[in-house]
Amino acid sequence: MAVYRRNYRPYSGTQTSEWSRFLVLFRYSRRNLFRSKVQTGFFVLCFFYPIACLVMIYLAHSASFLAKLGVPSQLISIDNMFFFRYMSVQGVLAFLMTAFAGPGLISPDLANGALPLYFCRPFSRAEYVLGKSSVLGILLSQITWIPGVILFAIQASFAGASWTWNNLWIAGSLVVASLIWIAILSLLAMALSAWVKWRIVAGALLLALMFFGAGFAQAINAVMHTDSGHFVDVGYLTAAVWIGLFKVEAENSITAFPALIALLVYCSICLLLLMRKVRAYEVIR
């Protein structure tokens, strides 16, 4: 039996708080994301419509300028419909952004067998998922509710306290509608990223899920003479929730509450799929 000199010295310095460690993943994943010029270009493109909205808000409050142009001032109305339209456009852009950025979040770690390395630290599976989803969460927030709330604030500063007080719920709707969309997109993208190791295939699947989902819903409705087919169409369900949140008049066969429940079910399924795959080991049968 060997005789050992016990001169082992473990690290004895301070430790960062547990809750902040997921930000390490966020930092690296975000940096990876913006290495792509296409990604960066698309991110910039996502601000064109908010800028156009900003111009419209300015014009709506410049009656003399509109008069000079010969445009009636009632033509531009800044109301719940205006913000619903804003949300619809940015929602599509957020979806495209997710299809580009989401699939590459987990699949490379799985393909490289990197998960055991993450989990052989004081770092849990939930923190891993949180770290990865925070990349999409923050990225999509930057193009949805953050510019939306800024636009609302600018409109409020032009329109005065009375308008602001009466329409404050629109700001809340902007935030809630965005967060629901971000949650469903992030979880869908990450679940696909975890189950499909090829990034391109995962991206294509996300696109297919949305577009074929809508087609499949139509097919179910036509064959079964029902409206329940829309429950397989995530886009339709989200639109139903948004219509309810922004109180706009639009034809939709599903009301906001059942649509929200259905979206929550989809989120739970995605979380289950994620937790099944995000593990330190893989059993090969």
Binding site: M1, A2, Y4, R5, R6, N7, Y8, R9, P10, Y11, G13, T14, Q15, T16, S17, E18, R21, V24, L25, Y28, N32, R35, P108, D109, N112, G113, A114, L115, P116, L117, Y118, F119, C120, R121, P122, F123, S124, A280, Y281, V283, R285
Partner: protein, 312 residues
């Protein structure tokens, strides 16, 4: 607090697939090698002691700590996995640094520790290159570095010598020895048996999820009764010696070396053989050397598990 890694009646099943079954171990400090064919349960055992998988049954303690408390466990446990587990696009420095940050080390400490570790594994020149561009040996070293970086007391290394050239191997082995000499627990899994033999203080032999033997290799060998002990004798008159040795009932087989100066003997009772040799040496036969020929890991492995997948 216990100073050992303890497995008490531990079993792990992945659904219907057996990982390990009824494992009882008490691993002391020093270099311990896990040896066994593919699918024998080496990686499962490592995943169990690092808390990456939970046992289906039984209890595991690492130096008195349960394995389901990662916040405390990974302060003194470092794990290097078997596969090329590198998140995409990181340089060697970023690889170590990011994992130290993930372990909860503040940024400045993490940077300083990263450089110290990179120096320790002799990778300073390659630290700013991407891990993807590293050679196999460099990858193994950087992977070892991430396990060593926070100065763990328990170092769990899955196949750390795989695919390394002889120079890289000897460098790695020197690192293991240095860690063991500091009082660490170095747990290694390997197929390269002659190296396991040289570096290990004790071995754990696994087959089909069961521990078939554990301990110092000589004591394991002495307990294998069904295979006669082989002894190599170098002497001036091997034929005469063989004839005299056959007078004992315990001698089973003897073969003379081609050069006429050696004898390989198989005996059922090594102790009686050594006693007999003392007598024979007094009778004028000049014995140059006597050495056991099959008390190494390779022989024990072959006797207990078979010769599948052995790297000689």
């Amino acid at each position: 607090m216990s100073d050992r890694i303890i497995f008490e009646d531990v079993s792990k099943f992945y659904g219907e697939i057996l990982g390990v079954n009824r494992v009882n171990l008490s691993i002391p400090p020093g270099i311990t090698s896990l040896v066994g064919p593919n699918g024998s349960g080496k990686t499962t055992l490592m995943n169990l002691m690092t808390g990456l998988v939970k046992p289906s049954r039984g209890r595991i303690e690492v130096l008195g700590h349960p394995t389901d408390d990662p916040e405390n466990l990974f302060k003194f446990v470092g794990y290097s996995t078997q596969f090329d587990a590198f998140p995409k696009g990181l340089t060697g420095f970023q690889f170590i640094y990011s994992y130290l940050c993930l372990s909860g080390m503040p940024l400045q400490d993490a940077e300083r520790t990263t450089w110290q570790t990179i120096e320790r594994v002799n990778m300073v020149d390659a630290a700013s290159r991407k891990v993807a561009a590293y050679s196999k040996g460099m990858r193994q070293r950087i992977r070892l570095a991430q396990a060593l970086a926070h100065n763990p007391k328990v170092l769990v290394l899955d196949e750390p010598l795989n695919g390394l050239d002889p120079l890289a191997r000897s460098e790695m082995i020197a690192l293991f020895r240095a860690s063991a000499a500091e009082g660490c627990y170095v747990i290694i899994s390997s197929h390269i048996l002659h190296e396991v033999d040289v570096i290990s203080d004790q071995v754990i032999l696994l087959s089909n999820g069961y521990v078939v033997a554990e301990g110092q290799i000589q004591s394991v060998r002495s307990e294998i009764q069904e295979h006669p002990t082989q002894i190599l004798i170098r002497c001036d008159r091997p034929r005469e010696l063989a004839a005299k040795l056959f007078e004992s009932e315990t001698t089973i087989e003897a073969s003379i070396h081609n050069d006429g100066h050696g004898l390989l003997l198989k005996t059922r009772d090594a102790d009686r053989f050594y006693l007999a040799m003392n007598q024979l040496a007094l009778n004028g036969i000049q014995v140059e050397s006597i050495a056991p020929a099959d008390d190494d890991v390779l022989s024990v492995y072959e006797y207990l598990i078979g010769n599948e997948e052995v790297v000689r």
